[in-house]
């Protein structure tokens, strides 16, 4: 069937194809029906969780899932440390609650307000064999630590010729829109860090994901920057396995299967994509496949490629401004890999190229409505 796709490359074919795409949802589905069976099987396997539905799970919100992971990490690994601004008393988002009481001040402690110092300290501790989990109170505050992360953490192994590594280091930071955060409490700085070989960048989309990915990040032999969707801390509750489990880094998850269009997102944007997919499913019969990227560096090109190969359409969505966002990287890579199988130009539905606004947040954020509009546009192309 890829041959037939390649064949509709003449102008006439294109027109006919476009007409067919728009004609009806049935036609649209028919065009992409060959995909159904593969995606269904992928979906069930792609959680990376062998015990996702195990009886030992309980309803947990995002914040508690992170807290749970930290408890497990400190319990399992006597060299694990947890520190940052206000971490000792539970943190401003309450993600580190109970750690101080349980593991004591030697392992769980407050730091002064000193982001560059926090990360540098973490690198040093990691280089000496500890497993530090440093918290940056808001992702917006990570920039003073940018130098340490980019110039030191990322290059530690490389420039010591492999003598040293700070792989034990995990830097957690809550990111993203929250409804009223304004310029300095809402940003999504993940793309900056994806430009830095030597660190991994992880952005979980929900409680179950957060726990497994955080434990994997802490165990990972490379330094990880771990962005937590602060809007989800208390708004999302899922059944989360109570024990320890990890979700492999660098492996995307198919959050919803469909054959018409591939939607790629991460963190709290996945929920937006899900709402948009539900909208176009209901109103237009368009079936979207949603890929939760989970890890941005290294990112799972293969899963995205496989999906776009069958749907022929790609949309990437993130809250960060569109220009030089991580969406650009995905679109570039997939355009090259899937060039002849694309039915429409890949689109990015992202924040605009402005500072993150306060009063204009609803206008700025890539809402489900904007995503749905873009899906329809793409299917009509």
């Amino acid at each position: 069937m890829s041959a037939s796709r390649i064949l509709i490359r003449s102008r006439a074919d294109f027109k006919a194809h476009r007409a067919a795409s728009c004609a009806s949802s049935e036609a649209l589905r028919a065009l992409s029906s060959y995909t159904a069976s593969t995606s269904a099987s992928q979906a069930s396997d792609s959680t990376g969780l062998s015990d996702a539905n195990s009886p030992d799970s309980k309803p947990t919100n995002f914040c508690s899932a992170v807290n749970d992971a930290l408890h497990i990490a400190l319990e399992q690994n006597p060299r694990a440390l947890c520190f940052g601004e206000d971490v000792g008393f539970g943190g401003v988002f309450r993600c580190t609650v109970g750690l101080f009481d349980r593991f004591g001040r030697d392992r769980v402690f407050n730091t002064p307000l000193s982001e560059q110092g926090i990360v540098g300290f973490g690198i040093g501790a990691a280089a000496m064999g500890a497993t530090p989990v440093a918290e940056i109170q808001f992702a917006d505050y990570i920039f003073p630590a940018f130098d340490q992360i980019v110039n030191e953490a990322a290059k530690y192994r490389y420039r010591s010729g492999g003598d040293f590594s700070c792989g034990g280091l995990t830097v957690r930071a809550p990111y993203g829109a929250v409804g009223h955060g304004g310029h300095y409490h809402s940003q999504s700085p993940e793309a900056f860090f994806t430009h830095v070989p030597g660190i991994k960048v992880v952005v979980p989309s929900g409680p179950k994901e957060a726990k497994g990915l955080l434990l994997a990040s802490i165990a990972d032999p490379d330094p990880v920057v771990f962005f937590e969707a602060k809007m989800l801390y208390r708004t999302v509750v899922e059944d989360v396995p109570t024990g320890s489990y990890t979700i492999p880094l660098g492996q995307a998850r198919i959050a919803r299967s469909g054959g018409d269009m591939t939607l790629v997102g991460w963190g709290q944007q996945v929920a937006v994509l899900e709402r948009a997919a539900a909208m176009v499913h209901e109103e237009d019969g368009i079936e979207c496949e949603i890929i939760d990227l989970r890890t941005l560096l290294p990112w799972d090109r293969d899963t995205v490629e496989a999906s776009v190969s069958k749907t022929g359409r790609l949309l990437v969505s993130h809250e960060a401004p569109v220009t030089s966002g991580f969406g650009a990287e995905i679109v570039a890579a997939i355009s090259r890999r899937c060039f002849l199988r694309l039915e429409a130009p890949p689109v990015r539905v992202c924040g605009y190229d402005t500072p993150f606004p306060l009063v204009f947040e609803p206008l700025y954020v890539p809402s489900a409505q904007r995503v749905a509009d873009a899906i329809r546009d793409s299917c009509r192309f």
């Binding site: 601004e85 002064p112 307000l113 409804g179 009223h180 304004g182 949309l315 605009y352 190229d353 204009f360």
Partner: protein, 394 residues
């Protein structure tokens, strides 16, 4: 910790270049003098502090009523610092604030209605409703901004101070004798930018006044737990870091506006003379949580009560009445006038229009053409396809 809250004027540690530091020694004695304020000054100080308090308490009400959004950090309790320093400045002097910036703006004569409108996210706000609580800017009032990130205003104030010196000494502008006053908290004194700036201010002998509003708590971190003790002390004293960088450091009771005022006057005069920067540590306390989202569970009741008893506003009122500077009736008139001003500010803010959508794309770059605004003059977000991610946005 209450024990260190005397109207402390510790002896100065030795500056690299000995600096005149006579003010502090006198400062602790002024309370006995009746004539250290004129009735006009007393009235101005009291009005400013009372306005600061009324304004902030109104903010809390409006915040809980959902009228304002964003994080809102109130200044209540610390008024003596803002008033004591800023009311001593000239209109053309500069200040840099923090995220707790409403009252600094008020002291710098920014109209309360414009601040309130900014907090309401309205077009008539000081920054067209675009910044909100932590981003008070006013070129007209030489208010170089509130800085939501700690310490980020310090180097910016430094640059402004450099510009003053440059205008005066290189460009020969005799009128360039302004000073720049940067405010920040105890928590900020652990970030690198603070130290970098102390060094540069001293190195370039800039007309800077660094005012540390030490309210003891960096959100949930008690100051002595976040900062190592100064040499020879059991506790940290931030003012002692001044001499290490070649400038005088002064500790002052930040709950007493008259003392703050005196110390500030000396530092301002010194900066204006061209004798360089001063580091002032004002010991103060915030009566509310870190922000209105903070349940404030970490500070002990006794500690809060201790400082409540030292509330700078009744303290000044008592002094004014006892010294016979103003009558009870005059004080009441001031209070009444301020309450009206604050109520008017709320009404103004409430009735003001919201900004138009297009404002989202304005002021990102100097020239909005080709960015926020399309060649035909329309905002790009109005163009077909913009929301679909297919229109050019830059």
């Amino acid at each position: 910790m209450p024990r260190r809250l005397r109207s402390v004027q510790k002896p100065q540690a030795i500056a690299a270049k000995p600096a005149p530091v006579e003010a502090p020694a006198k400062a602790s004695k002024v309370a006995t003098s009746k004539a250290d304020l004129s009735p006009e000054v007393a009235s101005d100080l009291y009005r400013d502090m009372f306005l600061g308090r009324e304004f902030e308490e109104m903010c809390a009400q409006m915040y809980y009523r959902g009228k304002m959004f964003g994080f809102v950090h109130l200044y209540s309790g610390q008024e003596a610092v803002s008033t004591g320093v800023i009311r001593n400045l000239r209109a053309d002097d500069y200040i840099c604030s923090t995220y707790r910036d409403h009252v600094h703006a008020l002291s710098k004569n920014v109209p309360p209605r414009e601040i309130m409108a900014e907090l309401f996210g309205k077009k008539t706000g000081i920054c067209r409703g675009q910044g909100g609580s932590m981003h008070m800017f006013s070129a007209k009032h030489n208010l170089l901004g509130g800085y939501a990130f700690i310490g980020e205003g310090i180097p910016i104030g430094l640059g402004a101070a450099f510009q003053i010196r440059y205008r005066r000494e290189v460009l020969g502008d005799e009128t360039a004798d302004q000073v720049c006053c940067s405010f920040f908290g105890d928590g900020t004194c652990n970030v690198g930018q603070f130290y970098e700036c102390l060094n540069m201010a001293s190195l370039y002998k800039l007309p800077c006044i660094f005012v540390v509003e030490n309210n003891k708590w960096a959100i949930g971190m008690y100051h002595p737990r976040a900062t190592g003790p100064s040499a020879g002390d059991e506790e940290p004293y931030i003012y002692k870091k001044g001499p290490a960088f070649g400038m005088p450091g002064v500790l002052v009771d930040g709950m007493d506006v008259r003392k703050v005022r005196e110390v500030a006057a000396e530092a301002i005069a010194r900066a204006r003379r061209g004798d360089g920067p001063t580091l002032i540590e004002a010991e103060t306390y915030r009566f509310r949580g870190h922000s209105l989202a903070d349940p404030d569970e970490l500070r002990k009741k006794e500690e809060k009560e201790h400082y409540q008893a030292r509330d700078p506003i009744p303290q000044l009122k008592k002094y004014i009445l006892e010294a016979g500077l103003l009558t009870e009736g005059q004080v009441k008139d001031i209070e009444k006038e301020v309450i009206e001003v604050v109520e008017e500010a709320v009404k103004f803010a409430d009735e003001s229009p919201k900004p138009e959508k297009g404002q989202l794309l304005e002021n990102v770059f100097a020239d909005p053409k080709g960015f926020g605004i399309a060649p035909d003059g329309r905002y790009r977000y109005e163009l077909p396809g913009f929301s679909a991610g297919t229109a050019a946005v830059s």
